[in-house]
Amino acid sequence: MAVPSPEQPRILVGLVAMVRRDLLLAWKRPGDVLNPLFFFAMVCTLFPLAVGPSAEQLTVSGPGVLWVAALLSTLLSLNSLFMSDHEDGSLDQLLVSPQPLPVLALSKTLAHWLTSGLPLVLISPLLAMTYRMSTDIVGVLMLTLLLGTVCLSLLGSIGAALTVGLHRGTALLSLLILPLAMPVLLLGANTVSLAAGGEPYATGIWALAGYAVAALSLAPYATAAALRISNE
């Protein structure tokens, strides 16, 4: 292997710079971060209003409702992942930069997760309490959401890259991502349900973790390929 010369890009520097830039952008436009969170909270509020406030029903449906709401709210924030970069031309700069594109795609996805997935995990206990979840179940819920939102951000970045610059982007993105995201939802929500029922639930956690690792190693390449295709 060749010794990296000064001209060659330093990957970690690029990754950190990219994440910093996106976090700064999110800081300047807090609405983009907060709106999906409000949406998450509101969807979680809709269900008790629709199906009634009985405690048994809420305990049974709680994990599923929280997970569906998390999935939908992630989907909502994914649409803007590459949109502003595409509009102001910085995406073209990323494509011609010497940094490897998969790394840049990964750093954009990481920034997306830090501003959408992580806050969602952090406010989930609050909503879980309203669904009468006990403390240890809330722990399991947070763990599955932590792993699951990583998977969703990575999967979603592929879809966002494929649909960047298209009209009708939002509906199309949901159509592309939802079938891909179903296994994540299924694993996440059912793991929490199992834990709530006092049954062994480790399988689900490991499966989610495996999914996250696989997505972490494969999805950036797919996203990079999709970005190149959408911008040629």
């Binding site: 079938p179 299924l186 694993l187 494969l218 390929a225 959408s230």
Partner: protein, 250 residues
Amino acid sequence: MWKFFHQLASPPHFYRLAATLMPWLAVPALLLIAYGTYAGLFLASPDYQQGDAFRIIYVHVPSAYLSMMAYMFMAISGAIGLIWRLKLAHAVGAAAAPLGAAFTFLALVTGSIWGRPMWGTWWEWGDPRLTSELILLFLYFGYMALRSSIDDTAKADKACAVLALVGVVNVVVVHYSVEWWSSLHQGQTLMKKGGPGMDADMLYPLLAMILGFTFLFGALLARRIRTEVLYRERRTRWVREMILSPEGGR
């Protein structure tokens, strides 16, 4: 040998090849499906548990098998198109998608009709195969929606190929996660795995139907590829010459 592959990449040659293949696929399809239908509906003895209701497997099983095979076919042609930059491979993928979706839909409908007398309900969420098949249908919808929203054909081809490849990886995950999920929610499986062996008079019509449906898929695909190639090459000279020739492209 190499000449064959080079010719395969030329649209006019491919267009004619698909036309030549058509009867060789359509005739066996017709014969096999005719035999399978007759033998399946009249010759095969009724099942000792399910009575005559089991006969829907002669449509259901081949459709379900083709729904998955068409997806693999679509993804493989997408991969070929991406790796070797073969535009025709993308045309094959584009032609296969609606067929795959149609077979998936057929598998779902027949599964649901079969479920009515068997489970007493049109739809059983607890059955992993029905659920996986539904997700597969959504994957097809996503593929077709993506293709129709990108105006530039070359771009749509590549984007759809990436989506199909991501989908293939996901189909495996869908399969295992849905199996796990349905094992949580029901004590016993609805249909025994493997189960008792099938009698020959039940089995042979089924095999004929599976083979016949595969030929039918091939024949329909050849037909669709022809229109797809014609549409994509509509501005080229060979298409114009062919249309204006005395045979009119037949």
